[in-house]
């Protein structure tokens, strides 16, 4: 079954609406075996894409959540010195203390390399780490191997993972990094696309509610001076809140009332700004 999908190329997954453009880019990147770098504002489904690819091709997904303090080595492997010291002092485990290899644990990239099956490797929010990390990581992903210094062993990738890298920053990554990736910027979905996304999450949604909720949502996004604009996730949660409220009527939205503003705007200065702006919606 999944062989068939692989042949046909990526066309989407059950909870993910894929636009043609992105589907093409995913397929080209997979065929060229190149990492795909995705940028775009939060909530445009960058991370979801990796999940969707894994689902569509029935592959295991390994997620590396990049953190600012992270060193490349953490993503490759860890030498668990603490356990080894403990074992050597108290000696009550079955591990062989003189064999360091028993204390090496694979990091996320390492796991992707040693896996017997081809996996999807999602490297999430690469922009959080420093430039050295980014460049060194691409070296590893380029050569598909790394060394474990402690035991002088080279780990080679059994299968080249499908690599998806996401970045929230508008700032560009370094040139050598970009040179080795394909690139796509996911624009915020157009209202039409957004309606389809909402419909996937709420199959039975009332037409009137859908239209007016999406319309209000885009209107709220237009408010100036907002630090964190509400994204897809906020919209879905907001609609869920609206549907759950027995007192809510679609007419309220059309009249310009916006309940549960706090679901959409989560920073208090944003909330205040939005509240003032939303008050002006009323006609």
């Amino acid at each position: 079954m999944h062989k068939e999908t692989q042949k046909k190329g990526f066309t989407g997954a059950s909870k993910y609406v894929l636009d043609d453009e992105l589907a093409r880019i995913v397929n080209i990147s997979m065929a060229l075996e190149m990492p795909l770098l995705l940028k775009g504002e939060p909530g445009t489904g960058k991370t979801m894409l990796a999940h969707a690819i894994a689902e569509a091709f029935d592959m295991r997904l390994i997620v590396l959540n990049v953190k600012s303090s992270m060193k490349l080595i953490d993503a490759l492997y860890q030498y668990d010195t603490l356990t080894r010291l403990n074992d050597s002092r108290f000696g009550d485990s079955k591990r062989d203390v003189s064999n360091i290899e028993e204390y090496i644990r694979m990091g996320k990239i390492g796991q992707g390399f040693v896996s017997d099956e081809r996996v999807v490797l999602l490297i999430d929010e690469i922009d959080k780490a420093d430039t050295d990390f980014q460049d060194d990581m691409l070296d590893v992903l380029d050569q598909m191997e790394f060394d474990i210094i402690e035991i002088d062993k080279t780990i080679k990738a059994k299968n080249r993972p499908v690599i998806i890298i996401t970045s929230n920053a508008k700032k560009d990554l370094s040139d050598p990094f970009l040179g080795r990736c394909n690139f796509h910027h996911i624009a915020f979905p157009e209202p039409d696309m957004m309606r389809r996304i909402v419909q996937i999450h709420f199959a039975d949604i009332d037409r009137e509610l859908l239209d007016s909720a999406v319309k209000t949502f885009y209107r709220l996004r237009e408010i100036r001076g907002i630090e964190k604009k509400p994204a897809t996730r906020e919209l879905i949660n907001w609609i869920r809140a609206l549907k759950a409220d027995p007192d809510f009527r679609v007419k309220d939205l059309i009249k310009g009332e916006v309940p549960f503003l706090g679901v959409l705007f989560k920073k208090s200065p944003d909330y205040v700004v939005a509240q003032n702006a939303a008050a002006r919606f009323r006609v």
Partner: protein
């Protein structure tokens, strides 16, 4: 139909595409020869079968920042606007192009022969030079078009026919969908992300990240417990203490905004919102206003009427305060230089603004001027020139803001 697809792939893949590549490069998009060859590979693998595919595929492979997407759209629309169905008599040409493409991809020897140079010489060429060489031959062929016999391996019919060499002149085949790719390109969906122009409200979050760098660091005097444990274990239990830098006291910031002229109008709210959001990380943030340039007073209230602060009073503030001026610095030279320069009569004190600005720069060694006008316009305004003598000036763009923050955080 199937054939048209094929033909398009090969004909445009080599000839049209070289042109397209150079046009992208000329328009300022940093496209690398490596990525160019990678696109050839994608074409060769049959991954790109329509102009739609080409539009997205080439963009994903060649263009590495959404800031260039708008430019790409423009170049693409320009290049492929006249694209229409392929005429049958060009069939053989596409065959030749296919042969050429294969040579390029798989057989350096063949390519060397075809181009009439030695293989060693060919290998010495960088991809960039190779492309250039290739392009030169292409030009040569265009000129010697009718009855020429110089071209690679065929009887001298050039694929580059009809209306000459230049973009738009060549015909590309494709399916009827090709119009949509061009149309998409012409929509210029990415205009907002374009690098050109000053900061927009949509870049707010990103700009904030720049400001977050305004955090001073102290000496390395804080124990990093995790690292200490790890290093100690590596040392087989011998204690090894690892230190990190500790955070120092937070910054004081004064923001002085020119809210006088209409030219500043779009940026006042933006800059104020920006710094207000960043407020939490500052020890103190004061905002003042002025019109065009600073004379004897700064104003705490935007209408500049009720809450004046004499500039002389600034000496009482901490000299470590970061002083950030936002203004277009564009005014008549006398406003800056004359002893009674101010256009507001009550502000005339006998000291030119130029001297007052110098005084501020001396009081606060960490001061910058941020200008919403783009740097390329600066040389044409004399007052900007003079103010640049006093304050380091940066554009109100993401890059400019980053540089300004970097400058202001320097130790001396």
């Amino acid at each position: 139909m199937r054939y048209a697809l094929c033909a398009m792939r090969h004909a445009s893949g080599v000839f049209m595409f070289v042109d397209f590549f150079y046009l992208l490069k000329k328009s300022g998009i940093p496209v690398s020869p490596t990525s160019f060859l990678r696109l050839q590979k994608a074409l060769g693998m049959g991954l790109i079968n329509s102009l739609d595919d080409f539009y997205t595929g080439a963009r994903a492979i060649l263009v590495k920042s959404e800031r260039y997407f708008d430019l790409y759209d423009q170049v693409f629309a320009h290049q492929f606007k006249g694209a229409e169905f392929k005429e049958p008599d060009e069939v053989e040409l596409s065959e030749m192009a296919r042969a050429l493409l294969d040579e390029w991809l798989k057989d350096p020897k063949g390519l060397a022969e075809a181009l009439g140079i030695k293989e060693e010489d060919l290998l010495k060429l960088s991809p960039d030079e190779l492309i250039k060489y290739f392009l030169d031959r292409l030009k040569e062929q265009t000129e010697a078009h009718h009855g020429g016999s110089k071209w690679i391996g065929t009887g001298g019919t050039s694929p580059v026919g009809h209306s000459g060499y230049h973009p738009g002149g060549m015909r590309v085949g494709g399916v009827s969908r090709n119009k949509s790719a061009v149309k998409v390109a012409m929509d210029r969906r990415y205009r907002d992300y374009s690098q050109q122009g000053p900061m927009t409200p949509s870049q707010m979050g990103e700009a904030l990240k720049r400001l977050r760098n305004m955090v001073p660091f102290g000496p390395k005097d804080k124990v990093n417990i995790d690292k200490t444990i790890y290093e100690t274990m590596r040392n087989a239990g011998e204690i090894e203490i690892v230190f990190d830098r500790s955070l120092k006291d937070r910054l004081k910031v004064i923001l002085a905004i020119d809210n006088g002229g209409w030219s500043m109008e779009p940026y006042i709210e933006l800059v104020q919102t920006l710094f207000n959001y960043a407020r939490a990380q500052f020890k103190d943030l004061k905002t003042f206003f002025f019109h065009n340039t600073i004379y004897d007073y700064l104003w705490e209230d935007p209408p500049r009427r009720s809450k004046p602060l004499p500039v002389d009073e600034l000496v009482r503030l901490d000299p470590e305060t970061r002083f950030i001026i936002v203004g277009d610095a564009s005014m008549a030279p006398y406003e800056l230089m004359a002893t009674d320069g101010s256009i507001h009569i009550e502000e005339r004190s006998g000291r030119p603004s130029y001297e007052r600005l110098k005084f501020i720069a001396k009081t606060f060694p960490h001061a910058v001027w941020i200008n919403p006008k783009l740097a390329e316009e600066w040389p044409y305004t004399r007052s900007i020139h003079h103010i640049q003598e006093i304050f380091p000036m940066f554009e109100l763009t993401l890059d400019g803001l980053e540089k300004a923050v970097h400058h202001i955080m320097r130790k001396n």
